[in-house]
């Protein structure tokens, strides 16, 4: 196990980042995912919905959170990681979101050490767009 891994402690923050969610990103995400729901792409349709305008795919915000996890736990997130989140609020194109995370426990099992983190993605007003928990094995 690398020294960097063993030095993790409860209360450590994960390295979050900001990302502006442009309509171009939403359009590209529709191509990538195949989800062409007009609530994400068609302003005239979206104006008739409860949101009143287009919203980003929730999975796009979650994808940013998983990028943070992939950076933080580069060797293990994709091989044994798990997460559970709620989508709390929509992200509107033009908004800049911030990913965040904090280690809340470190547990030892047969497979080695596992960290549990609170994770999420905040909107400009500080409310959560995505919030939940991730569990990742350490190397």
């Amino acid at each position: 196990m690398s020294p960097e891994r063993t030095q993790r402690t409860i209360g450590d923050s994960l390295r979050g980042f900001e990302r502006k969610i442009t309509q171009d990103r939403v359009d590209a995400y529709a191509e990538a995912s195949g989800d062409h729901n007009p609530i994400h792409l068609d302003e005239s349709y979206a104006s008739t919905t409860q949101f009143g305008t287009r919203i980003a795919h929730g999975m796009l915000s979650l994808a940013l959170v998983t990028e943070m996890l992939a950076n933080e736990f580069s060797g293990t997130w994709h091989s044994g990681g798990r997460l559970k989140v709620r989508f709390s609020a929509p992200v509107f194109p033009g908004e800049t979101v911030v990913t965040y995370g904090e280690i809340t426990s470190i547990d030892e099992s047969e497979g080695g050490l596992t960290v549990t983190c609170t994770i999420g993605c905040k909107k400009p007003d500080g409310t959560d767009a995505v919030a939940g928990r991730a569990t990742v094995p350490l190397e």
Binding site: R19, G34, N37, M59, T66, F87
Partner: protein, 137 residues
């Protein structure tokens, strides 16, 4: 009016299998949508969440949620992943309706999905909870 499957499907209903193999052009679109200076270097591998998103789109289509008049909110998501998947690698997803209830006129549905590679080895699982309101038109 076509009755969407979510109105009639019972718990245990199976979906798929879906081919959720991600070709290079879709991987590139994902990078354009999500990527930035802080993005990890995936090389020829995919972010697992992209495979989950591809399966989710097919599930939503099969549930009839692209029908006019329905409004769908993605309420919750669980994902677990066993190993990295490469761009173009064959992955198949199968889903099962784990919950489907109606409260105050809204459908609450949860679909559990299993992902397998070409050797039928499980490479990941996911669970999606959605809330659907409105009437299909």
């Amino acid at each position: 009016m076509v009755t969407p499957l979510i109105s009639t499907a019972i718990v245990g209903h199976e979906f798929g299998p879906y081919d959720v193999t991600i070709p290079a052009d879709r991987a590139n679109a994902y990078a354009a949508a999500v990527g930035g200076e802080e993005s990890p270097e995936y090389g020829d591998s995919l972010a697992p969440i992209m495979v989950v998103a591809a399966a989710l789109t097919k599930l939503i289509d099969d549930l009839g949620l692209f029908s006019g008049g329905l409004q769908t909110v993605h309420a919750g998501q669980e994902v677990s992943w066993a190993r990295q998947i490469k761009t173009g690698e064959q992955v198949e997803a199968t889903g099962r309706l784990a919950a489907n209830s109606v409260r105050r006129g809204n459908h609450f549905a949860t679909v559990a999905v299993t992902y397998r590679d070409s050797s039928s080895t499980e490479v990941g699982t996911s669970s999606t909870t959605i809330i659907v309101s409105g009437e299909a038109s």
